[in-house]
Amino acid sequence: MTAPLLTSLSVTSAIVGGTAALSSLSKFLVEARRSKVFRDALTKKAEDTALESSDLDIVGKYLFDTIGGVEITSYVRDAKLRTRTEAALARLTTFVGTETEQRLEQEDPPPPPPPEVTQGLPVPAPVELARAKRNIVDGDVWNGLARARRYIELRLGAQFPSVDSSRMSAIGLVSLAERRERIMPGEAEALRFALNVCNRAIHGEDISPDLALYAVDCIEYGLSSLDE
């Protein structure tokens, strides 16, 4: 190899090495920045806003755009991001319920309470339940029942401030309220039936508007003694 060729090779090697180093550094910085953006987006507040909306589009958008935007590489490398993503996914799964839970529930569905239980309910219904009914009447059964189920979680969760109700299923809250005698056994049965209907709808089963409206009435009945 001649001296000029050696110089050319050295210069080329230096340029390629420098470019590779800069490119790796810039890739690392971009990845770190992306991780930070997602860490910041995955806040408890954003999670609450999505889940408390009980709206299919908002919950879905949060799942696909906010949680879904996280790259698996960042998820594996960034412990903070992983913790936040796992917490958000766990909470979302509790909100939606798993298919295994749904299958088990379907094997032994709670019986519908007699229609008399929904007679003599106070008028007007609580605002959230009235909105749920409006959703159902407008043909938006999923959002109506998701809203109604969220209402159960909020009302029962408020009874037990020491319990982290966001991590507990709605069925679990009903059982807790029944055990602690905040609601009567008949009311718990009505809530279990209503939750079964809500969960079936949230899991994609087509629920007739009549059954959905009856489930909302059962929720109103099931929670009526909490108002006293």
Partner: protein, 121 residues
């Protein structure tokens, strides 16, 4: 190479595929092959440059200026190091693969919910 996002796994669970898990295997197999080939190529380039420069420097070093040779050798070492780091990161792809399967299993548990929502393409 664009990374795999959680939404890709959710879409896989959402799609009506019997073998979503095998599809994920294929994606990661391709990803591993791609990353492994790229790492080998970079290590090869770095090592070749380094050997060529060192050999040439030993042969003609006294007649040439040392500054470009040192810069070139530094460049070759950087390329070699980047290749070796990329090689080490291949283990990370295996961890990603395991995590992606865990996420897929969780996503399959809420598959019907995922199907009701229409994400942007």
């Amino acid at each position: 190479m664009a990374g795999i996002q959680i939404s890709d796994v959710l879409r896989l669970a959402r799609a009506d595929l019997e073998d979503a898990s095998s599809q994920l295997d294929q994606i990661y197999e391709w990803r591993y092959d791609h990353a492994s080939t790229a790492a080998k190529a970079v290590v090869g380039l770095g090592a070749s440059l380094l050997i060529a420069l060192l050999a040439a420097a030993l042969q003609h070093g006294a007649k040439s200026s040392w500054a470009p040779i040192l810069a070139g050798t530094g460049g070759a070492v950087v390329i070699l190091a980047i290749g070796l780091i990329a090689y080490r990161k291949l283990n990370g792809i295996y961890r990603e693969y395991v995590v992606a399967h865990e996420l897929l299993a969780s996503a399959l548990e809420v598959r019907t919910f995922l199907r009701r929502y229409n994400p942007k393409p």
